[in-house]
Amino acid sequence: MKKLIILFAILSFWACNSAQNEAESNTNKENATSGITSREEFNDLSIYNISTVWNTQHGEEITFKDLEGHVLAVVMVYTSCKTACPRLAADMRNIEKQVSAKNKMNVKYVLISIDPEMDTPERLTQFGKDYKLEGDQWLFLQGTEETVREFANVVAVKYKEISPMDFSHSNIISVFDAEGVMQHQQEGLNVDNKETVAKIIELSK
């Protein structure tokens, strides 16, 4: 049986490319413990399961797991956007204001760029300044084409590049609890955000 497991491990190494690093390490972990999966004990639906690394507006690297214990309000935007994104940013600021008034500490407001090529940490910092989204509670993330597509799929945000500077995208603010599980979504612009605010307050400390 042991030999079999070793052979399996070798075979697993052989087939997969670097994009599947996580997959490989999981495979090996499992093999090492004779078929008992030793994955970390996150909720199955938690975004902490996503192991991709993002750059923050301060140029630091971060994974969702690093945000454990925080309630997250997440929106996907891009900085050269002229129509919806400023309004989305305003919606986020508005939500933040109402939640902060309740002295909620463990909440982060996360803006993920759907244009990772253009939106460098510098540009994201500037966007934060321009729209007064500044402070520790604000987090801007730059990923890659691939990781952004994957995350957009988690929150069911649709987007497409229609020209180098312009994307069409859905306007959704998603709320995740302190275990990384999505609990609420608000769709559209300038909609009544009462429900979203109430949800964040309910989930946070």
Partner: protein, 264 residues
């Protein structure tokens, strides 16, 4: 019993795997065309040449994949990446019903399909690539104006349980590719890029409050009803969803095309 089963799988199936991974692919010479939806401002897209799996991925092929990658077994897969009906025709982690071995794998999520392709050093096709190949009939690279061709596709969408059929049993298209129509819908990499939503269905128009620049992407070939159905299906699913009538196949860049592009 399980142990014997595993040994059996190992000696019988895994050595097979070494060449079974080498599934037949066909070269799709690229071109320029106008897709139904979501094209750029110029409305035409250029498709560089690429290789596409000649047939959809089958249950048997997917079984080999989960053998190697335990995290994609039914009992292990995270709910974030696949919903409850993932591989639901299988009995347990490896139990593919014998009559389905050569049928297209179904009830797989976008994440699972993407991981499968990456593990074969391939990728999922983009919507534009898939649709480009799908407009070819047996004789022509673009049969979208051929009413019989369209009729055949639409009527295949109306047949129930076509996912039970075996792959590769019909006539291949111009590129030698089978079953783009007639068995299952197929996942594409950017399925979530097209904005036809519940909202636009209920409003009969794109709601610009919901989508930044939403009006820029709209149908320009409403004649093509079959393609319209595919776009509508894609826009209605989520990446973790699994459906009995949704499978996938993989593609690979034509490295020759890419390197020759670099030279120019």
């Amino acid at each position: 019993m399980l142990r014997y089963f595993k040994i059996f799988l190992f000696f019988v199936i895994v050595p097979f795997n070494i060449w079974a991974q080498e599934v037949e692919m066909q070269l799709v010479s690229g071109g320029i065309y106008t897709p139904l939806y979501g094209s750029t401002e110029e409305s035409q897209v250029e498709i560089p040449g690429f290789f596409m799996d000649a047939k959809p991925v089958t249950h048997e092929q997917f079984q080999l994949f989960v053998l190697q990658y335990p995290e994609w077994r039914k009992s292990n897969v995270r709910r974030l990446y696949a919903d409850e009906s993932y591989l639901n025709s299988w009995k347990g982690d490896f139990g593919v019903p014998r009559q389905l071995k050569n049928s297209p794998v179904n009830n797989v999520s976008w994440y699972a399909a993407k991981a499968y392709c990456e593990c074969q050093d391939k990728r999922l096709p983009t919507t534009d690539e898939w649709e480009f190949v799908a407009m070819a009939s047996e004789k022509s690279v673009d049969a979208r104006e051929d009413s019989l061709f369209n009729q055949r596709i639409v009527s295949s969408y109306e047949k129930p349980k076509t996912f039970l059929k075996e792959v590769g049993k019909t006539t291949p298209n111009y590129y030698g590719i089978y079953d783009l129509h007639g068995l299952v819908w197929e996942w594409v990499y950017d399925f979530n890029s097209i904005i036809i939503t519940e909202e636009s269905r209920s409003n009969n128009s794109t709601d610009n409050n919901l989508f930044c620049a939403g009006g820029a992407v709209s149908a320009n070939d409403l004649m093509n009803y079959a393609a319209f159905m595919r776009y509508a299906i894609r826009s209605s699913v989520k990446a973790r969803n699994t459906m009995s009538n949704m499978g996938f196949r993989c593609v690979k860049d034509d490295t020759k095309v890419l390197s020759s592009k670099l030279i120019y």
